[in-house]
Amino acid sequence: MARGKAVEVYNVSKRFGSYQALDQVSFTIHENEFFTLLGPSGCGKTTLLRMIAGFESPSEGAILLNGAEIETLPPHRRRVNTVFQSYALFPHMTLAQNIAFGLENLGWDRKRREARVAEMLELVHMTQFAARRPAQLSGGQRQRIALARALAPEPQVLLLDEPLSALDLKLRQAMRDELRSLQKKTGITFIFVTHDQEEALDMSDRICVLGEGRIQQLGTPAEIYEDPENRFVADFIGETNFLAAEVLSVEGDMARIRTPFGLEITARQKGLTGPGPATLSLRPEKIGMQSQADGHVLQGTVRGRNYMGGFTHYTVDVAGQPLRVSRRNALSHAESFEPGQTVSLGFREDSARVLAQ
């Protein structure tokens, strides 16, 4: 699908004193895309967002908005709006005035402004609150108004800076779906910043994983989860078991390795060139237990158990190597394993991944 480029980031670096916040970052965000910048705190994701908004400028490199250089444009001249982490609603204005603020500055006439404000309030289901002030709202309602205010001027790109982090769990779930459907409905490009990998996997068209000021991987949620580029991504997204392995040979994107259990397997690899030490990544839900053990079968002893309702997480000791295993409680009387019990585990080669150490 050929789509226009909403934002292009070219070799952007940012230094704060001697601290390198971003190092040679390049990527392109398409029109109408839900794009997520994901990474731990201090990875540079917020800095990147603030550079697109115009609150910071890159030390090196360029940022293009709809094909045009924006370096010299101050924030108020960029057709980009932000949903701030703290929402930053104007406390002295009513909700309607908050939403109209951007429209007034763009010089929309009163009639058009009022229509747009009504439309926005409707969009976020807040019509009856128009005359209230931000202090009279709950967290989730403030969040909706912040969204309405940022969407009202029809920006080319909407920036969202961890907008869900201040909400409680239930609300966060609901807002995820709402954000997603808002993005589809409005057709505006969303750039979403978060450190919550679950949020990122749930909502994004594509995710850019940032770590230590660099892009670690850029891809769809499934690509990032199933085929992590390196150890950082495998570790940061979801849960995994890392096992030390020895590479015997590499052929294209497959590697023949020896695992600590003495098994020799062939699995997909990333970033390896030849024999030597490497890391085997095995996701807990991809290891079967007892009746579900499939592929390469190992014997182990249950060491710990965490009952999570829908799932039970086991820690199983295999030849002195602890393995995390996740088992879905599909039936109401699902079989359960006690610590100390001997169990058989199994995994298939095609769900294992070999990564550089």
Binding site: F55, P74, H76
Partner: protein
């Protein structure tokens, strides 16, 4: 503590506070109020009485034929006092916002030092500081030299003009404005300014629609702190204004001094105090209205 003990503590614990208020505020004001109703003594001083003639004197003079004639000369003084007070407040406000903004946005370790600089003049006696302006604005003073340096034409004198008086008043009271305005700007969430810029607001829009409304409580507090002492000021009109422009402060001073009319001086003082009280009441009402509006 038992309930009764707590109650008696509340009652007796506040005795020192009430004593202080009584001795330094209520009793002196009551005395001044009493004097304003007294008869004028022949050689200064007064004799206790209940006589409103001092207040009548503010508006009327006794004509040759023993009839009261309306005379606005004291109303002019009251009006002038208000005008100078308002002008001083307005100028202080306009100058304080940028100063406070710079301090609030200074590096964290510079802020205490900059605030200290603002309060520094209070370490020197007010009279000395006003005298300093006498030298600066005087003949061949710094002001005149600077004026000539930049090619200004001949000037008679800067001293003893309304401008000199205003300069002195703004100088004296501006720290009282800078501090509350600084506190208000400091409290301002920087994300709100970013939100304004993000929503296409330029600097002027941001100042007018975000910064000013949100720092208004600080500006109002500063305005009260400046206006109240400014309308009671004595030194600036006397020294820098050369006594040419009579103000309420100087009027009171002359009535108790050379004029030897204590009851009239006391009556003017009561009018001045009433003006202050009115301003304070209006401010309290406005603050309450704002609090109601912002309330969840």
């Amino acid at each position: 503590m038992t309930r009764a003990a707590l109650k008696s503590f509340r009652l007796w614990g506040l005795v020192p506070a009430w004593a202080l208020m009584g001795l330094t505020l209520i009793i002196p004001v009551a005395i001044v109020a009493g004097v304003s109703l007294a008869d004028r003594g022949p050689y200064g001083g007064f004799n206790w009485a209940l006589n409103v003639s001092s207040y009548r004197e503010i508006l009327f003079t006794m004509g040759w034929t023993d009839e009261l004639e309306f005379d606005p000369k004291y109303l002019v003084i009251i009006g002038r006092t208000l005008a100078y007070g308002l002008a001083t407040t307005a100028i202080c406000m306009a100058l304080s916002v940028p100063v406070a903004y710079v301090i609030a946005n200074a590096r964290e370790n510079w802020k205490p030092f900059l605030v200290y600089l603002v309060t520094l003049p209070f370490w020197v006696s007010m009279i000395v500081r006003v005298y300093a302006w006498l030298i600066i604005l005087g003949n061949e003073g710094l002001a005149e030299k600077t004026w000539k340096f930049f090619g200004g034409g001949d000037v008679d004198t800067f001293l003893f003009t309304p401008g000199a008086m205003l300069t002195g008043m703004v100088y004296s009271y501006i720290p009282l404005m800078v501090l509350p305005v600084y506190a208000a700007i400091e409290k301002l969430d920087p994300a709100l300014l970013e939100a304004s810029h993000d929503l296409y607001g330029n600097r002027w829009t941001t100042l007018r629609r975000v910064i000013l409304p949100l720092t208004w409580p600080g500006l109002a507090a500063g305005a009260i702190l400046v206006f109240v002492p400014a309308i009671g000021t004595v030194l600036e009109p006397m020294l820098l204004g050369g006594g040419k422009q009579m103000m309420m402060g100087t009027l009171i001073q002359t009535q108790f001094g050379g004029g030897r009319n204590w009851p009239f001086g006391a009556a003017i003082a009561m009018v001045l105090m009433a003006m202050v009280v009115i301003v304070l009441v209006l401010n309290a009402r406005r603050a309450a209205a704002i609090a109601r509006e912002m309330e969840p």
